[in-house]
């Protein structure tokens, strides 16, 4: 858990309070002005009600230049960020023709497949010529090509499950599968920090949803015991089935799931397990097979394995891997399989090629190198950040590392200062995180070189002092020197 310093919490609350009051005052004057000018609603209710977009209008717009930054190149280790300017205090942003070359610490390009790749890209282009960019049809109608079947086989083989089904979008994978698996009388036990697609899928399923404390197996056990003993609310019937949903790496926390403990508990209580490996597949594990491999869990113990191709594989779409029967059933009734356009053939080819590279089937050891590099890079960067006194969340080996910022004013300050020095970072605030726990999130890639990372650390060091986010004392110089000596030896 994140222990926020008392003083910081106070100042953060104060800042938000101030922003809220100012926003309200501005809304008040806005209302008076609007009252004078004729209403254009003509009897309709406003499309955004009162406070619904207050946050956007009065808080987000002030710092919107830190988000949605357009880029003009592939999201590789270095990319071109398009410069923008505003003439109306950030209300609207205008693009310029100018770009600045920045170090990319924001994209989910864990294995460096985002840019064109010597093995994947020519094959993707070949596929484009053969199959065109789209099939214009759903999988169950006329959208299944040889390539789609090959992809499913390849994915099933890679994640270590008997069968797999693929979809054209990761978000849809979660939100269309859960309603198929669960329904009335079922119980979904979900980690409190699960991704929005899982939340929406669970909501769409009609099953009861309850939440356990983030990554706390003990609390999961408590919840399961209580819920099984209680049965369904009101009718007290026993639950039809229970499914526990966890993520491999939590994208906003950088934490690895405590999978072995959770699997053991699920087994004990006969709950099904659903593992979302959106960020972990390809990125962790000795051969890139995700958290199961990293934490030594047998994939046979996980009932449903879900993942996306957007991150490590540099493509798009998502998959579900499981038993043959499960996949057969999903192919029979999953709406995303029946109604949605099948995954674009070049994207499918990219995934197949990326997996081949990882497995060394392309005839080189690039895959192994990439995997080794991302691990080294991540662990190096994390330990250096910690040494500098930043509050870094997450576990070792995880390529995602959030740096806590807390105060709302520090969000744009950190982001803008870093960008000035050509380092592009992602800052995350409410609603993606709790109000108090704003953070910057670093995603490390295998395509970063040691020099890139050292440059980033230098910039962070300077900006961190300027913005005041080194919440811990820095490690004594002596140890640092020692460390440096060791690095040189490396």
């Amino acid at each position: 858990m994140i222990a926020i310093p008392y003083l910081t919490a106070l100042t953060t609350y104060f800042s938000y309070g101030l922003l809220f009051v100012f926003g309200q005052v501005r809304d008040f004057f806005r209302k008076i002005i609007d009252w004078w000018s004729a209403s254009n609603l003509q009897g309709y209710a406003p499309i955004c009600l009162g406070l619904e977009d207050f946050y956007i209008r009065r808080l987000y717009l002030r710092i919107q230049d830190c988000f949605n930054r357009p880029i003009a190149s592939a999201p590789d280790a270095w990319f071109d960020v398009v410069e923008r300017y505003s003439n109306d205090y950030n209300k609207t942003l205008k693009l310029t023709k100018k770009t600045s070359r920045c170090l990319n610490l924001g994209s989910y390009n864990y294995l460096g497949f985002a840019a064109s790749d010597e093995y994947c890209t020519p094959r993707a282009i070949e596929t484009l010529k053969k199959y065109s960019p789209s099939t214009c049809s759903s999988r169950v109608d006329g959208g299944t090509t040889n390539l789609h079947n090959e992809l499913e086989e390849c994915v099933a083989n890679f994640v270590g499950k008997p069968a797999a089904i693929v979809f054209g979008m990761g978000y849809v994978t979660n939100s269309a599968i859960l309603p198929v698996l669960m329904g009335k009388g079922g119980l979904i036990v979900s980690d409190s920090l699960n991704h929005n697609s899982i939340v929406n899928g669970a909501r769409g399923s009609g099953a009861r949803v309850c939440v356990f404390q983030h990554n706390t197996p003990a609390h999961l056990e408590e919840v399961l015991r209580e819920k099984i003993a209680e049965g369904q609310p009101r009718t007290r019937r026993p639950w039809k089935k229970i499914i526990v949903i966890v993520e491999g790496i939590y994208s906003m926390e950088g934490e690895l799931c405590k999978l072995p403990e959770i699997i053991a508990i699920c087994k004990k209580y006969k709950a099904y397990t659903y593992l979302d490996e959106a960020h972990s597949i390809g990125a962790v594990g000795k051969t890139g097979r995700g958290v199961c491999e990293l934490l030594g869990v047998d994939t046979a113990d996980v009932d449903i394995m879900m993942g996306t191709f957007t991150k490590s594989f540099g493509s798009c779409g998502g998959y579900i891997a499981g038993s043959k029967e499960l996949i057969q059933y999903l192919k029979y009734t999953c709406p995303a399989h029946l109604y949605a356009t099948s995954i674009s053939p070049p994207a499918a080819q990219q995934i197949i090629c990326a997996i081949k590279v990882l497995l060394g089937e392309d005839g080189s050891n690039r895959g192994a190198q990439k995997l080794a590099r991302i691990r080294e890079n991540s662990n190096f960067f994390r330990s250096e950040l910690q040494k500098m006194g930043f509050e870094v969340l997450g576990d070792n080996d995880s390529p995602v590392m959030p740096i806590m910022l807390y105060n709302p004013a520090k969000i744009p300050a950190f982001s803008r200062e870093c960008l000035k020095q050509n380092v592009a970072v992602v800052t995350v605030a409410f609603p993606a995180t709790p109000l108090l726990l704003a953070r910057a999130r670093i995603c490390i890639s295998a395509s970063h070189t040691r020099e890139d990372l050292i440059k980033a650390l230098e910039v962070f060091g300077r900006v961190g002092d300027l913005v005041g986010i080194k919440y811990f004392p820095a490690q004594p110089k002596k140890a640092e020197a020692e460390e440096e000596r060791l690095l040189k030896v490396d």
Partner: protein, 486 residues
């Protein structure tokens, strides 16, 4: 001093006792003289105090003991994760061995493809491939991030501007998947308590969006304007109407219904919308690039200015022969989605090469209005060819690019048998006549109750002989398969 106080106290106590006891000093209870009633009062008082000190009656609380919980957990037997697999679940779709163009290869045999919504025949178009090719080389395949976090690539912005420019709207917003467009856009604008009036034939993406919005949902009969009017009247006329006025109210319709091929009468809907002050959400997935003189969709087809429709969504996996979807409307509508629409905020952005394909597809469409006339002509040829078909009847509108044939006697045939018959027709057509059509399938989650049927997506890429051959073969096969059901 103290003794005098004591004296006074004693005297008072004596006096009080005497006064209280005086009336009953000679009382005798059960034969005993009790020397006053104070004794009884004290007793009663004690009883009252005792009763007050007791807790009020509650059923005894006995929480489950750990052992009992263990037993319950031990005894609980979950249902299997999925029902057991039956034969009907084993359907395997035909596998394409080439691009899904108007002609494609299945099992090594060239077939005429009516299963892809490739309305303009853009699959395999040289310009489209060229633009994808250069985008792939420049940007790679994926965007590796959601729009907010460096997943916004300049082609996305160009594509949004191109779509808005083409349709004449202020702005548009790109989604990375067609299916997610509607089910993200609806919950962004409708919340608990809001009212949505919706056609009962809408596809699953919309149904899911409605469910996620938690709004009050009223269905009207498929494409029945009288029923829509009745429902709108009902909603706005009664006593609650004052309250209703403060709620957001929407009508959700599809331009061309995927589940029936019917075209929505937009002029009528706009009339009703303006009368009853509802906003309209229009899904143009199957009409964008198809209907209207220049392919601008149902608004152009019905001669309605596009500003009158509040929110338009469309999937790009049909006429544009790419993937993803977009939503367009006023700047307020698009801007609001950029932070409030879950499928936009929480999902990786559209692969840049698909965005660039969409731009090129619109360019091609604008440069070649002939494609739309060709498509119209093709639809007319197929209709003419299919006229007089036995056992099946047209469910779709004559100008719709989806030609939807449903069983004529659908009511007398069980629904499982219906799908079997339709699938049989499709299988025979593919095997014996090299015509690839599909029987529409329905997910168990789909709440749409419109009848199933044979669905043909007409393309501008089909030749006249393709269409005539398909029509003739379909007639033959339908007659053969449905001879017992005519």
């Amino acid at each position: 001093m103290s003794s005098s106080v004591m004296d006074i106290v004693n005297a008072t106590v004596d006096w009080v006792t005497a006064t209280l006891d005086a009336p009953s000093s000679r009382a005798v209870i059960f034969g005993f003289p009790i020397g006053g009633h104070l004794f009884v009062e004290v007793l009663l008082f004690l009883v009252i105090v005792y009763l007050f000190s007791q807790n009020s009656y509650r059923p005894p609380r006995r929480p489950l003991t750990e052992q009992e919980r263990d037993e319950l957990c031990e005894e609980w037997v979950p249902d299997p994760l999925i029902p057991s697999i039956t034969d009907e679940m084993l359907y395997e779709p035909p596998v394409l061995e080439s691009a899904a163009g108007p002609h494609t290869i299945i099992n090594g045999k060239e077939v005429v493809n009516f299963a892809s919504a490739n309305y303009l025949g853009l699959i395999g178009h040289e310009k489209l491939l060229e633009s994808c090719n250069s985008a792939l080389e420049k940007y790679g395949v994926g965007s590796c991030g959601p729009r907010g976090f460096y997943g916004t690539i300049d082609v996305h912005l160009d594509c949004e501007a191109r779509i808005a420019n083409f349709l004449g709207t202020p702005d548009s917003i790109l989604y990375s998947y067609g299916l997610s467009t509607m089910f993200s856009a609806i919950p962004a604008f409708a919340k608990k308590g809001d009212i949505i009036v919706v056609d009962e034939g809408v596809h699953w993406g919309i149904q899911n969006g409605l469910h996620l919005s938690r709004s009050t949902i009223k269905y009207f009969k498929h494409n029945d304007m009288e029923d829509l009017r009745k429902i709108l009247e009902e909603l706005t006329s009664n006593k609650k109407s004052e309250r209703v006025k403060k709620l957001r109210r929407y009508i959700v319709v599809e331009a061309v219904y995927q589940n029936s091929g019917q075209i929505a009468p937009l002029d009528k809907i706009v009339e009703l919308k303006e009368k009853y002050k509802f906003r309209v959400l229009l899904d143009e997935s199957n009409s964008f690039g198809v209907l209207g003189k220049s392919g601008r969709g149902l608004t152009e087809y019905c001669g309605i200015p596009v500003e009158k429709i509040d929110i338009i969504t469309a999937a790009m996996g049909h006429a544009l022969a790419t993937e993803g979807g977009f939503c367009t409307g006023s700047a307020r509508v698009t801007d609001h989605q950029r932070l409030s629409s879950s499928g936009y905020v929480f999902s990786a952005s559209l692969p840049p090469y698909l965005a660039s394909a969409a731009i090129t597809a619109i360019d091609i469409l604008e440069e070649n209005p002939g494609l739309i006339t060709k498509l119209k002509k093709n639809i007319a040829i197929l209709w003419k060819g299919l006229s007089g078909i036995q056992g099946l009847s047209f469910a779709s509108s004559p100008e719709s690019p989806i030609v939807f044939l449903r069983l004529e006697k659908a009511d007398s045939v069980k629904s499982e048998l219906q799908l079997k018959l339709l699938q049989d027709i499709a299988n025979r057509l593919l095997k014996e006549h090299s015509i690839f059509v599909v029987a529409s399938k329905k997910s168990t989650l789909d709440k749409c109750r419109l009848p199933l049927g044979i669905r043909l997506f007409v393309s501008a890429g089909h030749t006249e002989s393709d269409l005539l051959k398909a029509a003739a073969s379909l007639k033959d096969v339908a007659e053969l398969v449905l001879k017992d059901h005519i």
